[in-house]
Symmetry: C2
Subunit: 336 residues, 2 copies
């Protein structure tokens, strides 16, 4: 069987990681990645052997920088079965007509609105609903992290109400332009935050309220999760359900912060120290006055990567069973 | 009427501020402050005209540094009606027998256990219960900040349940020894945190659950507050109740973070840029699915200062009415 041809439109934080994850799968291949600027990421992409494409008005600047380009973004789309759009939030929407014109399937990231794709995806929550679709939106890192724990707990115990405080890293490690350096920024100030509705874009029946702040850190987000359940359950029950999720990792063993999680990932020699799994402090799992509380950390740069691979597999109907796709993806990238 | 004689045992972050606040009241005066080391704070205290005392085994090092000392800590206690113990958390407990021996009233800070004083104080919550007491504990900055909003809202609407995410600054601005620099630290990992029980030390009937993290910032704590009420109320009702609290300040006007609150305080020419009030983003006050949510920022170095003054006034029965003491304190320090 020939491999599914995947193009990456936008080779930045998410795009470069999706490219590498797709390249490791045996049922799909990268046919091209698009760059707008001839920066270090473009040269690394070339060194990896990816075919590089660029918008037509950027071809000259790429050539001037001695970076050979295979063609325009439209040329790249022509050779692809599915495009993973990893352009900056809001830009992806402008590409929809292009994908429609070329009759290619497309995946957008969480920075775009649900309405653009008409379907918001999370592998453990709604894989089967993505089968054969032309357009899918993989939800943001925060929403993905929430769906991965809410969905299995909901199936088991019935979720009555979820309340989450999202403590967000303000900038990625390589981003020297954003702040704050020394402040806590309620964001948005007007409550609740948009993250709750975004979880509902995947699981419309979940009653969830979220609040969010931006913090002077670059490494990971942290969620303080509070859930009321319909059914009685124990802390052991919760831990057991979460322990069955391949994309939930329990952390302890002296790990008391996001910094130590990243150090763990570096010691595991993960590519780019990526931590694809939700990191749940299992010691924090507490039922207090019948409500569940726990902490989890989310690596904003990498946790949606496995879901992008699964989305391709569902849309191309390479695998009908979500659990099997999840296992295949995770094994190929080295998550398990 | 002669002024009440107040001694400050421990002239650090809290002690130096309590000294200055007491010195501004017309019904009390500072008779001495104790220092253990002849550092810059000790010399500033001398320049302000405070009589300086030291533990007997530190007298020599103070004299060597050319800092004149009036006597030992015991000498200081002998000339005081009430001692405000601002020694580091845990150290204050060791001083109790000394205060008992000298028959002097004492106030401890939130770093000590409730049991040490047998009574935990917050001015708007339980002023009248402190009247005439010998020993009082002024609760921590976080607990004070919570009591100031929970107590009046409880009186008006009846609090059914409170859930708070406490986002804590990890170190004070002058502290170069503590971290983290770039991490989010769930602390404690085991939930819930001790802050809920600490609120109950003031208001035992309040049903409250708290979670806490430490953050790489020095300026202020932020609380994400969630409250279920017994009675129906509107956002306007909530705002109206909070607007009546002199120690709650609404922030807006382009203030989107703790850094900008501190900038406001600097522009107001507040001493040491102290922000004694809870800073509530009134735009954040939201009723969502019948639950209240809002953000407030707490200046950890200064928000318990007015309460220390009120505690002295209650213990010495200088004023029977809590509201009048609060007004008197606030006017004298320049809060209103």
């Amino acid at each position: 069987m020939s491999k599914v041809k995947v193009a990456i439109n936008g080779y930045g934080t998410i795009g470069k990681r999706v490219a590498d994850a797709v390249a490791l799968q045996d049922d799909m291949e990268i046919v091209g990645v698009s760059k707008t600027r001839p920066n270090f990421e473009a040269f690394i992409a070339r060194d990896k052997g990816y075919d590089i494409y660029a918008p037509s008005d950027r071809m000259d600047s790429m050539k001037k920088a001695d970076l050979s380009v295979m063609g325009t973004v439209e040329d790249m789309i022509d050779v692809a079965d599915v495009v993973v759009d990893c352009t900056p939030g809001g830009v992806g929407a402008e590409n929809k007509s292009l994908y429609e014109k070329h009759g290619v399937k497309a995946i957008w990231q969480g920075g775009e609105d649900h309405e653009l794709a008409g379907f918001s995806f999370n592998a453990v929550s709604n894989y089967s609903e993505a089968l054969g679709r032309d357009f899918v939106r993989v939800v943001s890192c925060n929403t993905t992290g929430l769906c991965r724990v809410i969905s299995p707990l909901d199936k088991e115990f019935g979720v009555k109400k979820v309340r989450v405080s999202l403590l967000r890293r303000s900038a990625d490690p390589g981003d020297i332009k954003k702040g704050p350096i020394n402040a806590i920024v309620p964001n948005p100030v007007k409550l609740p935050s948009h993250h709750g509705p975004d979880v509902k874009s995947v699981m419309p029946h979940i009653n969830i309220t979220t609040t969010a702040v931006k913090l002077p850190t670059t490494l990971m987000h942290v969620h303080i999760v509070n859930i009321d359940f319909e059914k009685d359950c124990t802390e052991k029950d919760i831990e057991e359900v979460l322990s069955r999720q391949s994309r939930v990792r329990f952390v302890g063993q002296g790990i008391s912060s996001t910094a130590e999680i990243i150090e763990l990932s570096r010691d595991m020699l993960r590519p780019r120290y990526d931590m694809w799994e939700n990191c749940v402090w299992n010691e924090s799992i507490s039922l207090y006055e019948k409500e569940l509380y726990f902490f989890q950390a989310i690596h904003q740069e990498s946790n949606v990567i496995p879901e992008n691979v699964d989305a391709i597999r569902a849309m191309m109907e390479l695998e009908k069973d979500g659990e099997k796709s999840i296992e295949k993806t995770d094994k190929a990238i080295g998550l398990i």
